[in-house]
Structures are given as C-alpha cells and as structure tokens.
C-alpha cells in the first residue's frame, strides 16, 4: 500500500493522510450495530474537489476501492469499506460555506460541513435550509445527508426530504472528472438557482446514491426565510394511538397547507422506555417531564408569517387532534411539551440519535427506518409486531435484542417515516445472530412496501436481496454504475454492485 500512500501524500500533504493502525482502526466502525469492524488501508482528508479528483485517479490506476465518508454517523455501514482495505476519504475538512446568496435564495457549501454548522450561520441571517438534515445533524454532514434522502432532523413535515431542495451539486466522478450539475451545468448560468431545465435531471442521480456514483464535494441548497412566528404543542393519545395519529395526519393533509413544520408520534413503548419503566436497569427518565406518564405522545410544531395566521391554522389543527383523542400536555417544556424543546432547543437534532444506546451500556441500534404512505403506517406497525412475535425466541437468544418503533414522523405531503429497528448488544459472539435478525426484518419491511432511504451497505443489500428491484431496473442501475465506474472502485458492494 505504500506506493498508493505516497501518491496520495504527494496530492494532499503528509498531515492529511494516514496509514497508521490507530487511525485506520478508528474508521473501522460507525453506528452500525451488527456489522463487523473493517479497517481501510489509508485514510485521507482532502480540502478540495481537485484533491478528491487526484485521489480517485490514483485509486483507479491501482484498482483500489474508495469509500467517501461524511460525519461517520451512518447506521448501515455506509462509510466504511465493505470488504475491508482501500481508501476512506474523510470529507469533513471540506467544511466551508462558499456563498450565501440572498438574491437567488441559495447557499453553496462544501459537502463536509455539518447541517448544524451550516444552519447555525443561516439562523443568524434569518434563514434556514428548511429540512435541517438528519436527526444526527449536529455531527452529520450535508454530503452524507444528500446520499440518503435524509429527513429526520427537523422540518420534514413542511419541507420533505433534504434532497428535495438541492439546486446544484459539484460531483467528482469515480474516474476523477469533476462535474457541475443542476443549473451550474450551464456555462452561461450566473448563479445556481434551480435544479431543472437543462435536459435530464442528472443532479438527482447523485441524490440518495449512497456514494456509489460519485463523491459530492459541493452542494447548493435552497434557503428559506425562517418564519417569525411559531407554536409547538404536545398531546397524549389514547389507544389505538397509531390509528389515531394516522387519521390526524391524513385529515390535516386534506385541509391543505396548515404550516405544520414537524409532527411526530411516539408509541407507548417509547414513552415507557423514556420514563424508565421499560427496562429495570434504565431507571431514569430521559425526558423528565414524562415520568409516570403511560400514554403515547403526539406533537406538532407550526410556523407562520403572522400571529393571526398561526392562530387561525392552529385552531383547525388542534380541533382535528382533539377529535381523534388527543389531550394536550402543558405549554412549557417542564410540563412535558416536547414539541417546544424540539423546535426551540434544537431538539430536532437530538431526536433519538442522542438516545441511542439507551437500553444500557453497550447497546446500539440496527435501524430499519423507512417510508410508507401515511394511511399505511398502522398496518406496517402491525406487521412489525407480527415479525417480533415470530422472532421472539431469536430476539431473546440474541441478548435479548429488542425490536420496536421509536417514533413515526410526518414526511412531506404524502409519507411518514417509521423509525423502526432493533436494539442489540455490541458483542462479537452475537454479531451474526444480530445481523441475521436485522436483515430479516429489513426484508420483511421491503416486501410490505416500505421504502428505505438510509441504505448504506446492509440496507441496500437487503433491498436487493428481497427482490425489490425488477430485473430491468436493477440492470439499468448496474449499467449506470459500470459506465461511470468501470473499475468498480467507488463504494463497491453497496446494492451488490
């Protein structure tokens, strides 16, 4: 490997490349609960698209696999090599904001900046990116989020997934060519402002691609003025709470635009976990105000341009919630208003990711989060329950491993995100059992019509293994991959490609 190391060192400088064991080992695992540790041979931290291009050209010459990595917060093995070895490109050094264009209403930034750092600067100017990235947005990068159609870190109900608001991308193709997509693909466009209008939308090809088609080095996103008024309210829901939550969301959507920024449903099991009554050894309330509460929770946050607008829409919103069995908790965070914490205390970036491992030291999730239409989510929760019953013995033998749904959130106009999955124990002896259970649950979800969006290694492979892609579609995907990456050097193995 020393020849490749030397070539990369010449490209980026010795300070920003390493083949030391202790560095490689640190990049060998992410949040993935049941995947084995796999070390890259070299880790490199480039500062520009040109340096990324040079690295990819070196990798092609040497037929060496490359995996791009953002904040390393991924849950499905997306930022480490599938076979081990190769080069990991740590993009977090590329964290500069290039331009905030208040005329075109866009921000252009290097892909290694975190969602929180970018939005922290935008907040000060009265803007935000609408969708604020993933739940791990305090440490996750925009490049990583755009690889995944991320939604859970705030603004999902109003703005949908983060990828919906991309105007342009700078991408380094697997063989090292640097291209501009979106409006930047025209040499005559003066500033990026729109993704469409110059033939096929090739920008979209790199959105949600899990890093298999190119390395995103720069992104231009729409920015929105942060509305001056907001409100946030939290309710308890009677059982069957999932059915009631789905009814509320459908009723809202059928009333048109109501200014809902976020809305979450937290099943009873989650509340029991949060209040310390689910697992004896976890004897403290995560959210102190809910101690003793034994009901499912439902909340919304809303934004408005005027207080009058907000008040009138809130009356409609509240009426629908109350008609479906919602009972409001107090107004303050101390009285249980999680929604207020979520919106005002940047809780959207703490939404569950900060609670991983909550079943005890050494526990970690194997997420199977996915999207379904709003009206289908109670049915999917039922299917997950049936899967748990069927696999109870295996779950018990695996630790015990737990299975469940932490929360469901409204995503765009038509969908919800179901944050389902397992909580397993980080134990090498049980890793294979955990992995099998995880993949089995993922396949069940795929076959029931759930759409995964954070896919990385394990979830993308499960989707293929479940037979979700029709042959011609998968062949088309493969041919695109082979055309762009004939040496199969970029993220090989994801989607079994």
């Amino acid at each position: 490997m020393s020849r490749i190391y030397k070539a990369i060192e010449d490209a980026v400088g010795s300070k920003y490349v390493s083949e030391e064991d202790f560095v490689r080992q640190a990049y060998g695992r992410s949040n993935d609960g049941a995947l084995p540790e796999r070390w890259p041979d070299v880790v490199v931290r480039p500062r520009s698209a040109d340096e990324v291009s040079q690295i990819l050209r070196i990798a092609n010459r040497n037929k060496t696999p490359v995996v791009p990595r953002g904040g390393g917060c991924d849950i499905s093995g997306g930022s480490k090599p599938i076979e081990g070895g190769g080069i990991v490109i740590d993009l977090t050094r590329m964290n500069k904001i290039i331009n905030i264009d208040e005329q075109a209403l866009t921000v252009t930034a290097q892909a290694g900046i975190t969602w929180a750092e970018l939005n922290g600067v935008l907040f000060e100017k009265g803007y935000y990116t609408g969708n604020l990235g993933p739940g791990s947005g305090m440490s996750a990068t925009i490049g990583g989020g755009l690889c995944h159609h991320t939604v859970g870190g705030g603004g999902g109900a109003k703005y949908g997934t983060c990828t919906q608001h991309v105007v342009a991308l700078q991408v380094v193709l697997p063989q090292g060519d640097i291209i501009q997509t979106g409006s930047n693909a025209s040499v005559y466009v003066k500033e990026p402002f729109c993704r469409y209008g110059l033939g096929p939308d090739l920008c979209s090809m790199f959105l949600g691609d899990q890093g298999i088609l190119g390395v995103k080095t720069e992104a231009t996103l729409e920015i929105f003025p942060k509305p001056p008024y907001h409100t946030a309210k939290t309710f308890t829901l009677k059982e069957p709470s999932d059915v009631k939550a789905a009814k509320i969301w459908l009723a809202w959507r059928k009333r048109g635009e109501l200014g809902i920024y976020d809305s979450n449903y937290l099943p009873l099991l989650t509340i029991q976990g949060f209040t310390g009554s689910l697992v004896p050894k976890v004897d403290f309330p995560v959210f102190k105000a809910w101690k003793g509460l034994n009901k499912a929770i439902f909340f919304y946050t809303m934004e408005g341009e005027t207080q009058e607008e907000l008040d009138s829409k809130q009356k409609i919103v509240d009426k629908i919630v109350v008609e479906n069995g919602g009972e409001p908790l107090g107004d303050t965070i101390e009285k249980g208003n999680w929604a207020k914490w979520h919106y005002e205390q940047n809780g959207h970036w703490q939404n569950f990711h900060g609670l991983w491992g909550c079943m005890g030291p050494g526990s970690i999730p194997c997420s199977s989060e996915h999207h379904v239409p709003i009206h289908r989510f109670p049915e999917m929760i039922k299917k997950l329950g049936e899967w748990e019953t069927k696999n109870l013995d295996k779950l018990t033998k695996a630790g015990p491993a737990l299975s469940g749904v932490s929360h469901v959130l409204l995503c765009g106009h038509t969908a919800v995100e179901i944050d389902s999955g397992l909580v397993v124990w980080q134990d090498d002896d049980k890793r294979a059992q955990n992995y099998d259970l995880w993949i089995d649950q993922l396949k069940m979800i795929d076959k029931e019509g759930g759409l995964p969006y954070v896919m990385g290694e394990s979830i993308s492979r499960a989707f293929v293994a479940a037979g979700a892609y029709p042959g011609p579609y998968y062949d088309f995907l493969r041919s695109i991959k082979n055309t762009l990456d004939p040496n199969r050097i970029l993220s090989p193995g994801k989607f079994y490609l």
Partner: protein, 409 residues
C-alpha cells in the same frame, strides 16, 4: 512501531470497560453546533492535529475498545495521540448534552470521557509508552524538588513579600501550588493584599507544601500522584487546616476532586479563591475604590474550574462587583467554553499546539471588544500571555484576583 498488546494489561482502562462500550459513535464529540445551547464546536485540538478521528473523543474511545479487545496494538503514535489532548472535557459535555435541563441522556450516567483518557494514560505509563519525554523530566523535578518547574524546593516561599509574616498554622490555610510561587508570584501577592484588606488571617504550610500532583494525575503517573496527595493532606492537617484556600485551578481540582478519589474523604474543606472573595464582598468585608474608568472585561472559564468542578458563577459574581467593570461574555462560555489550550500536559509537551489553541480563544475574546481577558487559573493566564505575544493581541491578560486587588480600597 507497534508492539503486541498482550503484554499490556490495561488494568486501569479495563475498570472502565462499560464506559468505553457505551459510546454509540454518533459523533457529537467530533463536531457539534447547537445554537440554542450556545454550543459551537467541541474539540480545541482536532484541526491543529489534522482532524483524523483519533484526535476526537469518538476515535479515542474506538482505540480504547480496540486495545481492550486486543484488535489494536499499542504504538508510539497511538500513545502520542492520547497525550495530544488537553483533557478539557468539552467532549464529555457535548456527549452528555449538559446544557439541556429537560433531557438526561444515558451517556451522562455511563461515560466520563476524561476518566477514560486518564486511565488509558496511566496504562500507557505502566506499559512504558507514556508519558511524553518532557513529562518524564517533570516527574524527575517533582520527585527531587517537589515542583514541576526544575526550581529549588527551598525557594518555594520566596514569593512572600519581605517582612510579611505568615503563620504556619491556622484554620484557614493557603495552598499556593507551584505555578504561582515560581512563575506568577504577582497572583499570590494580589490574593494576599485582598485578604489583608479584608482582615483575614491565612496560614501557609511552606516549606511542607509539595506539588499538588495535578500534572502526575493528568499524565498517568498514579503512584506519584498518590504520594503527593498523601503528603499534602498530612501537611495541611498538621497546619490545623479546617478550610484550604486555593487559587490555582489545577491545584483546586486536584484537592477538591482528585484527592477524595485517591485517598477518600478529606479532613478539611477546599475553597477556591473566587468563592472566598465573593463571600467577602457579600459580607462587605471588602470595599472598593471608585472606578477611574469603565472597562469591558471578559471571563474565560478554566476547564479545571468550570467543566471539571462546576464552578462557573463565583468568578463572574466577583467581576460584576468590581466598580467600573462591565462583564461581556464570549460566544462560548461555561460548559461550552473553548479551552485555553494548556491543560492535560499539553503545554509542557506540545507547546506550539497550546499557543495555537490559546490564539483561537483570544480571537474570540477580542470579538467582545473587551479590554481584558480574565481567568482564574495561572495556567490559562500563562498560555494566554504566550498567545497574546504570538498574536500581537490588543487584549490584555489578567486574573480575576488581579483586578480585585487593583480595585480594593
């Protein structure tokens, strides 16, 4: 060169195995911006060092996991990376989400990052990979002269102004430390002036006081730390101490937090000078001169005093009581404060890095338009003075007690 870990038992780290296993690798310790909580970034050294994972807590915990499981071998490079950390504890606060009164994250019960890193350092010392060469020289000075500055023990009391008699016994005993007597005596004379003005009598244990052991604790020499703790406790007991007054934040943390962990409950109270002065002001034992001019002053939370021992308010209350002082806060304060860069053995082993981090903090202080950056720690003060020279900074560096002493009538 890597060596086989089978020869390294990691006895200290193994006791904290559950903490190591509790990291779920989300990475808020790598980079965290949370505007609502005043949190803007986490680790003061990562960018200086190239930014690879081992230079932030998540990567260090990964390394600890690998060492315990035997999948990673110790190397000189690994050991160096463990020492290239100021142990400021900012990562712990980010991980625990400490600014949030309503949420208690599981990690706050399960992971104490600084404890893990100190345990790993202790194992590295036992295995012969640690400390850094300069630390080893400092151990020699402490063992021979009871101070880390290569000064004669006999000179420890030279800071006491000529003609000033301080009793060797009393209920209130000053623990002077090493940095101030040998390098910054003006801080001790300031403190003495304040106490005199308030009519407070204080004893000193000199020449029986030895180094508090902070440098040994932070860099992994547990036997040396234990012997120093035992010696000092005995000396303070012999002096009749009911209350021990400490100004140096490193000494304060050692006495207040580390000594009880090493030897158990102490037979005296440990009080920081800013707490003591705050109470004197409240009790109207101190009167101030009228201010000649108004001055904006910003306050830097020393890691030993703030994140490590939770003392955030007393220095601010003291500053606010000084006539003419307008306290203006930096962007990152209290739990979110940026480290000065000097702690954890970094100043002695990696001086350039310490100054670089200090320059970052001075830039933040200058953004407040303050005339003075103050602290309550001679280590922060010393590093800021070095950083100010390197940066050619406009802002002046002072300790809180210097401003008090200047203002006392």
């Amino acid at each position: 060169m890597s060596k086989q870990t089978t020869k390294v038992p990691f006895t200290n780290l193994r006791k904290l195995e559950q903490m190591v296993a509790s990291c779920s690798r989300i990475g808020d310790c790598r980079q965290m911006v949370r505007p609502s909580a005043g949190r803007y970034d986490v680790c003061p050294v990562k960018d200086y060092l190239g930014g690879f994972e081992p230079y932030v807590a998540r990567g260090k915990l990964r390394m600890a996991d690998g060492l315990l499981r035997g999948t990673l071998n110790v190397s000189d490079g690994l050991a160096k990376s463990i020492y290239e950390c100021t142990l400021c504890g900012s990562c712990k606060e980010a991980c625990h989400n400490s600014g949030d009164a309503c949420i208690e994250l599981p990690t706050s019960r399960w992971i104490d990052h600084v404890k893990v890193f100190e345990a790993l350092r202790a194992d590295l010392v036992e295995a012969g990979y640690g400390p850094m060469p300069r630390h080893r020289e400092i151990y020699g000075s402490i063992e021979k002269e009871h101070n880390p500055y290569f000064e004669r023990h006999a000179d420890r009391g030279k800071w006491i102004p000529a003609g000033k008699e301080l009793p060797a016994k009393g209920g209130l005993v000053l623990f002077a430390g090493c940095t101030e007597p040998y390098r910054q005596p003006e801080l001790l004379t300031s403190l003495l002036g304040i106490l005199d003005a308030a009519g407070v009598k204080v004893a000193v244990t000199n020449p029986n006081e030895w180094c508090c052991g902070s440098v040994a604790i932070r860099t992994g020499n547990k036997p040396l730390a234990e012997s120093l703790a035992k010696h000092n406790i005995e000396a303070l007991q012999k002096a009749g101490a009911k209350d021990v007054l400490v100004h140096c934040s490193g000494c304060y943390r050692a006495l207040k937090k580390d000594y009880p962990e090493i030897v158990g409950k102490l037979p005296f109270n440990v009080i920081h000078a800013t707490e003591f002065i705050r109470d004197l002001i409240k009790d109207e034992k101190i009167s101030f001169k009228e201010a000649e001019e108004e001055a904006k002053v910003t306050y830097h939370d020393p890691c030993h005093l703030g994140r490590q021992t939770g003392l955030y308010d007393a220095p601010r209350e003291v500053l606010k009581a000084i006539p003419g002082v307008q306290l203006v806060e930096m962007r990152r304060i209290r739990e979110n404060a940026w480290c000065c860069g000097a702690g954890g053995g970094v100043k002695s082993a990696f001086a350039d890095m310490a100054v670089s981090v200090g320059i970052d903090r001075l830039a933040e202080a200058e953004a407040t338009k303050a005339k003075f950056i103050t602290s309550a720690c001679p280590f922060c003060r010393g590093n800021f003075i070095d950083a100010a020279k390197a940066r050619k900074a406009r802002i002046q560096v002072k300790d809180v007690i210097e401003l008090v002493a200047d203002a006392v009538a």
